[in-house]
């Protein structure tokens, strides 16, 4: 009797262990019982995601009835690279990945080569080229953002302010506004703004003169400390800081959008991703746009960045279906139009124009036709963590913990602490 009881014990224990181990083997993306293929999509877009997800799912599932999409959202500036790194290490890269234009060189080994796909020929040569690596396509271009200065039209008209074309003119505008008791700039140095403006200023002041500055830095041909242009970039921050809202180091993006929407400030140096958030707070705000002014007027150009692009994992189990979905992205103009209207951005799909009617969209279209500077020129050569870290040194300088020369020197020293994505 007692012996039998022991056996019961053992069997129970073994069954518990067994059930635990069974629970461990979770099912990943794959074919379900009804023959549908579930594809995982990693997405970092954070503007109106519920609406875009619903719209994309409906469109794709209508065109490809055997495919089901499963979205996963992450925050690009804080999480994207860590999530990608862990997924790659764990061999669990999602089937379709939204990659920010400029990030591709880092991940090419793990992305599907799309160069021979027919749908890639839909795109004009210059857009493809902007994202190609060694002449190969790894992504379907989808949207682009534009960066520059967003301004409050009402404040500008009421104070008879003309659009500044050089940095000095911008500072004169700031001085005029300040003397009238209006805060000129919205600054949210708590999160990524310094990093973003760093690339904006560098694009117009540095890369416009030397397009390979970042590569030269890597090779040791140039340095922050010896570059008068980069010193100018750093000094721009000091001037912006002087004319900014109170306590910019305590303000984040959401707070900044609220501040700009409430008309507490006149200008905001940022990109098109901010407008949706501003208009949520104040739908009637008249937002205008002008390019970030450079010291030299001829370098004052609107800054464009290929933004949302779609890539496929090289190791996906369903390459056929993944390519079909990417084809929908590349060719379905109706979906592309809905997408940019929801996300309030510009499309890279030919002939797709936004229906959003706002003063800043008109302004952007005007400046775009004159010619744009590519933000990824700098982004590819000086990777985002490097920009962010230099931003931290700028912050320490602005707060009086470092001198300007030390901040420039520290940026140089960080070179050995970051992986460059280009060789």
């Amino acid at each position: 009797m007692k012996k039998g009881f022991k056996w019961v014990h053992l069997i129970m224990i073994i069954s518990i262990i067994g059930s635990l181990l069974v629970a461990c083997s979770s099912s990943s993306s794959g074919t379900s019982k009804d023959g549908k293929v579930t594809l995982k999509v990693l997405d970092w877009n954070n503007t109106n995601t519920k609406e875009t997800e619903k719209m994309i799912k409906e469109t794709v599932e209508k065109e490809l009835p055997n495919v089901k999409l499963e979205f996963e959202y992450i925050n690009w500036d804080t999480d994207f690279s860590s999530v990608m790194q862990t997924r790659i290490a764990g061999k669990q890269l999602p089937d379709i990945i939204m990659i920010k234009g400029g990030d591709h060189p880092k991940y090419t080994e793990h992305l599907m080569d799309l160069s021979t796909e027919e749908f890639m020929s839909e795109f004009p040569e210059d857009i493809r080229k902007a994202l190609q690596i060694d002449g190969k396509d790894y992504a379907v271009p989808y949207t682009s953002n534009f960066q520059g200065v967003f301004y409050n039209k009402r404040i500008f008209t009421e104070n008879n302010i003309e659009i500044p074309k050089t940095w000095d003119e911008l500072m004169a505008v700031a001085e005029t506004l300040k003397s009238k008791g209006i805060t000129p700039f919205t600054s949210h140095f708590k999160d990524y703004q310094i990093g973003n403006s760093f690339n904006q200023f560098a694009t117009i002041e540095v890369y416009s003169k030397n397009p390979t500055w970042g590569n030269d830095l890597q090779k040791g041909k140039v340095s922050f400390a010896t570059s008068p242009e980069f010193k100018t970039v750093f000094e721009h921050f000091e001037e912006i800081y002087k004319y900014s809202n109170k306590d910019p180091f305590g303000l984040d993006f959401t707070g900044a959008a609220e501040m700009f929407a409430k008309e507490e400030t006149a200008m905001w140096i940022i990109g098109t991703w901010s407008t949706a958030q501003v208009l949520k707070n104040n739908p009637d705000l008249e937002i205008g746009f002008f390019p970030t002014p450079a010291t030299d007027e001829k370098n004052t150009k609107i800054i464009m960045q290929p933004d949302h692009t779609f890539s496929a994992s090289a190791t996906t189990k369903h390459p056929k279906e993944v390519k079909q979905v990417l084809e929908v992205f590349a060719t379905n103009k109706d979906m592309a139009k809905k997408y940019i209207d929801i996300v309030q951005t510009e499309s890279l799909i030919p002939d797709v124009v936004s229906a959003v009617q706002a003063p800043y969209v008109e302004d952007i279209n005007n400046y775009k036709s004159i010619g744009a500077a590519d933000a990824n020129l700098g982004n590819v050569q000086i990777p985002w963590p490097y920009q962010e870290q230099s931003g931290n040194y700028i912050a320490e300088w602005l707060l009086g913990n470092k001198t300007l020369d030390k901040a420039l020197k520290a940026s140089d020293d960080f070179k050995s602490k970051v992986k460059f994505s280009t060789k």
Binding site: K6, H9, L10, I13, I14, I16, I17, L20, L21, S81, S82, M84, Q85, T86, I88, A89, K106, Y107, E109, H110, F189, K190, D191, D247, P248, F249, G250, L251, G255, W384, P385, Y386, E388, Q389, N392, Y393, A395, E396, L399, N401, A410, D413, S416, K417, V418, K419
Partner: protein, 305 residues
Amino acid sequence: MSITISSKPTSIVHKKKRVNARNIQYFLLLLPPLVFFIVAMIIPLIMGIYNSFTDWDGISLEKNWIGFTNYIEIFKDEMFIESFKFTGLFMIFNTIIQNVAAFFFAVMLDSSIKAKNFYRTIIFAPVLLSPILVGQIWTKMYGTILPSINDLFALSINFNLFSSPNTVLTGLLVANNWQWIGYWMLIYLAGLQAVPKDIYEACTVDGGNWWQKFIHITIPMLGPSITICTIGIATGSLKVYELIVASTGGGPGDSSKSTIMHIYDTAFMSQQSSYASAMSVVFLLVLLIFAFIQLKVLRKREVEL
């Protein structure tokens, strides 16, 4: 005498057999956690140590053995040293403030004051929140709630402790202590309640006052609790991450970057995985040495009943 000797071996044999049968059961029950522990802790630890001797970037398919280069680099890395200093200060202040405050509250709430259950709940409540939430609560607190007091009374006190490198440590200490004092208070309370009342009575009979009771009875009797709390607070502070991510993000500049955060950023943002692994190994050694010294020093001071 001879009877006892002859009976012993049989009982031992019998016992051994039963223990063995039990052992299999226990071992089987322990197997799943053991497997998880090995898979989730031991294997990654060994892999991490191996990686720290390579030049792996975390993504690339190739790894090259580079020996101690990463380790030499650490001691030249100003950021690592700065982050280590910050973490050290954070730990020292936390250990002192939390121990003293938790002890104080425990003694207070162990006495016969009114509504002590109410106070215990109030002080303990923040423990239940996640550090992410605490970070956001205090960001709001310093950023909008406290400054509105300024507007109300036309004052100009600088409440935003998170936006200057000089005050960010204070700001984080306030948030962290607000959250954890209740937890350690509970441990001290349990310790206090385990102190036999007759020792105090004996002291009263001998003519000792409350101060003498406190110094000669309460503190020595709480020795084990002090050990647990000190080590718990110290290691917890050294590992601080979520609170900082959710409140300052390591800023302004790098002024509130903790060591763990620096390691994380190096591995996942700057893509220097092997270098980050080397830093982790160094940090682990520091933690181990630290815990060992603490244990040695504190155990000496404990009294046994």
